[in-house]
């Protein structure tokens, strides 16, 4: 073959993501090796991963770019034009109203299942070889739709082509394959983009593709970060009872989280292990665990949630746990992994449930006043006009104003809603493992 692609680099400027891919890693211990595609090493799409975030309007005037290197043999002149295109055939638009309508409907339906090349084609440019191998050459992606598509993860292919002296376009050897993640906004804490050239292997807080694989699937096609957060919340609740279940045996203790010096630590590696059918830290979760899970998987898509507790203002972690006088009374709820409406964790002695929470914790849109909105993957509340009596209409809590949420969660009166008070300080989630 006279011309070969040696490498393709999507993240070519780790200090910025305004025209290239985000800084990412596979997980806590495994970095993404750059360049992402390397001849002879990255054979499948999942071996060559890159993530892009929708840019601020001010940054959208410049095209996204990639860098690539090539090798030529003697019969190729030292100056050629190179481009890359999606190798799938272009489907012709049918003629006639009915045909066009059917084409549009089928196109919309298949977009759920069929990969979309959000990077588009690679624009042609001149490449000059000083020897057999080129330097890294910058290519523009003028048709990239990253700023419009919302949440996606797609396996894409590029068929590289060249031509010499205005001749016909000729294909390279095999296409290159890549897995591309599209996010509706830049990831927020616990994720970051901080870059320190002195740190080998990169920053452990760069978004993990092991997390993106789940988050993008859960929130597939979400147009914005708020919608993505709602879909992540629903997906996490739906993990019960197969993967996780509310911790009734241990009376609602945290298993995947621990408050530390900087915020709420989340054992992300162990949770991913659980999603992969490993043991993780076991079956059980409580509200704090669920809050950290939603925040970690929603904020990697650009949501900006923080975790926050609600409880009686007099209750705090130095209170003797024997003291139950400050717990707040509940309406009936459907805790994650259960299929029954109870006042939490019924047993032989308490067939209706324990009836109270010491505290509860959820993702919040922002720190601040009680008028702000909450998400909750730990439980569903009754969504009908009277949440205190049956029958109940299950309501997944996504961006619900706190005042409404509290009235659905807590029983009326001073020992219920009167004690369910949002605390002043929200916390960031940080990766503990």
């Amino acid at each position: 073959m006279p011309l070969q692609v040696l490498s393709v680099r999507f993240n070519h400027d780790p200090t910025s993501a305004t025209t290239d891919a985000l800084n990412i890693r596979k997980n806590l211990t495994q970095p993404i090796v750059l360049p992402e595609w390397r001849r002879g090493e990255t054979l499948r799409a999942e071996d060559s991963r890159a993530a892009y975030a929708r840019r601020a309007p001010a940054d959208r005037g410049r095209p996204f770019t990639i860098k690539a290197r090539f090798r030529r043999t003697a019969e190729i002149p030292p100056a050629v034009q190179i481009r890359a295109r999606d190798p799938r055939p272009v489907e012709p638009v049918p003629t006639g109203c009915a045909g066009v309508v059917l084409w549009l409907v089928l196109g919309a339906l298949t977009s759920f299942f069929r990969s979309v090349n959000a990077l588009g084609d690679v624009a042609p440019r001149d490449v000059v070889f000083a020897g057999d191998e080129s330097d890294e050459v910058l290519f523009e992606l003028p048709f990239a739709s990253v700023d419009r598509v919302g949440v996606r993860v797609d396996d894409i292919s590029w068929q590289w082509e060249y031509r010499a002296q205005g001749g016909a376009w000729l294909p390279f050897d095999n296409p290159t394959h890549h897995r591309i993640y599209c996010l509706p906004d830049t990831p927020n804490l616990p994720w970051g983009q901080g870059y320190d050239p002195a740190t080998p292997g990169g920053n452990p807080l760069w978004p993990w593709t092991d997390v993106l694989d789940h988050a993008c699937w859960w929130a597939n096609l979400s147009a914005d970060a708020d919608t993505a957060a709602a879909r992540v919340t629903g997906a996490v609740y739906s993990l019960g009872p197969r993967y996780i279940t509310y911790d009734c045996p241990n009376h609602g203790r945290s298993h995947y989280t621990r408050y530390g010096l900087g915020g709420l630590g989340f054992a992300c590696t162990e949770f991913l292990d659980r999603l992969a059918d490993g043991p993780g830290f076991g079956r059980f979760v409580n509200c704090t665990d669920c809050s950290a899970i939603v925040i970690t998987f929603a904020n990697v898509l650009g949501a900006n949630l923080r975790t926050r507790r609600m409880h009686d203002p007099q209750w705090n972690t130095s209170v003797d746990p024997l003291d139950r006088s400050l717990a707040f009374a509940l309406n009936e709820i459907a805790a994650i992994g259960t299929d029954a409406w109870t006042r939490v964790c019924p047993d032989a002695l308490r067939p209706g449930g324990w009836g109270n929470f010491n505290y509860h914790e959820t993702p919040w849109v922002d720190a601040g006043t009680a008028a702000e909105a909450v998400y909750d993957a730990c439980l569903k509340v009754d969504g009908d006009a009277d949440p205190t009596t049956r029958p109940h209409v299950p309501l997944l809590v996504t961006r619900l104003p706190f005042a409404e949420y509290r009235d659905r969660l807590a029983a009326p009166g001073p020992t219920g809603r009167g004690r369910c008070i949002p605390q002043a300080d929200a916390s960031d989630v940080e990766l503990m493992s």
Partner: protein
Amino acid sequence: MKPSFDETKAGVPGWWPHTIRPVRAAGGVAWHRSLWLPEGTQAYSRDAAVVSIEVAETASADEAGRVALQLANECEIPALEHSEMVGDRAYTGPGGVPAIFTRGRFAVCVMQAERAGVPVLDVARALDTHLAGLAAGA
């Protein structure tokens, strides 16, 4: 502080540590986390009896008491009672689940980790005996 607790040497009769997560020190506390299976059970199964053990190794008995209180207050449901069945100071739920206790400068939480019920209090007592030996030798 060099941690002295080692899951592989903490003999709990009838149980073996299947999963041991690395120690992470934060705020002067070394945390140990492990999942234990019954002896004779080789592979982890979601139907198996599994015990979760969390050990916080602190600088003093007072600090261990503070950590145990924090562990106990992570229970969302107000079900814990003071207990004298294990440790220097203990909080347990009905049936001894979970068992949160201190022994010397150690704070411990023993829990059920999968659907199958486990004898949490028995495991906690065995672990307490081991930790008492470590505390006496410190």
